[in-house]
Subunit: 202 residues, 2 copies
């Protein structure tokens, strides 16, 4: 098909503006480069960081905390760099999310514990921390998640995700604290699981 | 059936010697208590601690190290309380075991990494440490397994198992370091995975 080949040739040399040009992005790119850039473009609007994605809110970074405060009032916030994220009733069946906020170093972090069944009959827990901030800001921090039990400890340390990239891809690639229901049982007390969360700067 | 009831009545009051009486165990027990005691009886012979159980060797605790040295010559031993357990070719398909020995504090520890497919299509790795010694001796130690990657660290700390109880039940109940192939990929280098192993006394 000659016409398509001609179109492809044009598309492979012409520069296009970024999808978020109207929001202020000055970048122009080849057609083939557009998707990768637009995924990480600083001018892309932020989505609501609450897991489960039932909330369709989008807006600027500055508007995220006001959105959470007004639309997700039930989320608890704890102050300090070293807190306990208490997930209650972890034996509830089905896919469940536990969420809380941690405020320290002048920033807000969202702690997420998600129960999923990626493999038939094999429920897993995924715990992760995301910064209400940009990817660049996230790189200045590290977080540690710790399960403490009788003569046992499981620890995961990593860089927080930015809410701009979200946690879904990290969870699907297991780039977070992953544990199964057996481990949860080893560390839980009466169906409640305490996760020690420590944020530090680096 | 009157005769069985009578037998049961006798069995429920008569004391029987432990199965390992001939090996020196002085304990006598009710019929119902025998299985539990015999499982943990100090006079029960030790089995070969190599995972996979293709070796049917049994003997006394003192004979375990000589057995390993003579019958399992390919197992590497490293000296010191802080070593690296290097598992090569972790992407090999199917169920695979990696084994090495660590010698410190005057004792020998067997490090085991096992790849299994407990759930269809979901390969998992299980790493654990067992002491060539009794359960009582094992309680005097703690071990730490650590995977280190780029801005990521996964750590498991626990009490070593005794080879008298073995590692199979701990692995099946996830009471060890558990991670999937995604995580292995995050921490592996060219298909080789280094696990930092630290033994301490407590
Ligand atoms: Zn852009
Ligand atoms: Zn929302
Ligand atoms: Zn006995
Ligand atoms: Zn053997």
């Amino acid at each position: 098909n000659i016409r398509n080949l001609a179109m492809e040739k044009v598309a492979s040399t012409v520069m296009f503006p970024c999808k978020y040009a109207s929001a202020g992005c000055p970048v122009t790119l080849l057609h083939t480069e557009k998707p990768d850039h637009e995924e990480i473009c600083d001018f892309r609007p932020y989505s609501c960081p609450c897991p489960g994605s039932s909330c369709k809110w989008q807006g600027s970074l500055d508007a995220v905390m006001p959105h959470l405060t007004h639309a997700h009032k039930s989320i608890t916030t704890l102050q300090g760099e070293d807190i306990v994220f208490l997930a209650t009733d972890i034996n509830l069946p089905g896919a469940v999310d536990w969420v809380m906020m941690q405020s320290c170093f002048g920033h807000n972090f969202m702690l997420v514990l998600e129960k999923q069944e990626k493999y038939d009959g094999h429920q897993q827990f995924f715990a992760i921390v995301q910064l209400i901030g940009t990817r660049k800001q996230a790189e200045n921090f590290a977080y540690r998640l710790e399960l403490n039990g009788h003569r046992r400890r499981l620890t995961w340390e990593a860089t927080p995700r930015s809410i701009h990239e979200g946690v879904a891809s990290a969870i699907s690639s297991s780039d977070c604290l992953v544990f199964d229901t057996n481990i949860a049982r080893l560390f839980a007390d009466n169906g409640n699981l305490g996760i020690n969360v420590t944020i530090s700067t680096c």
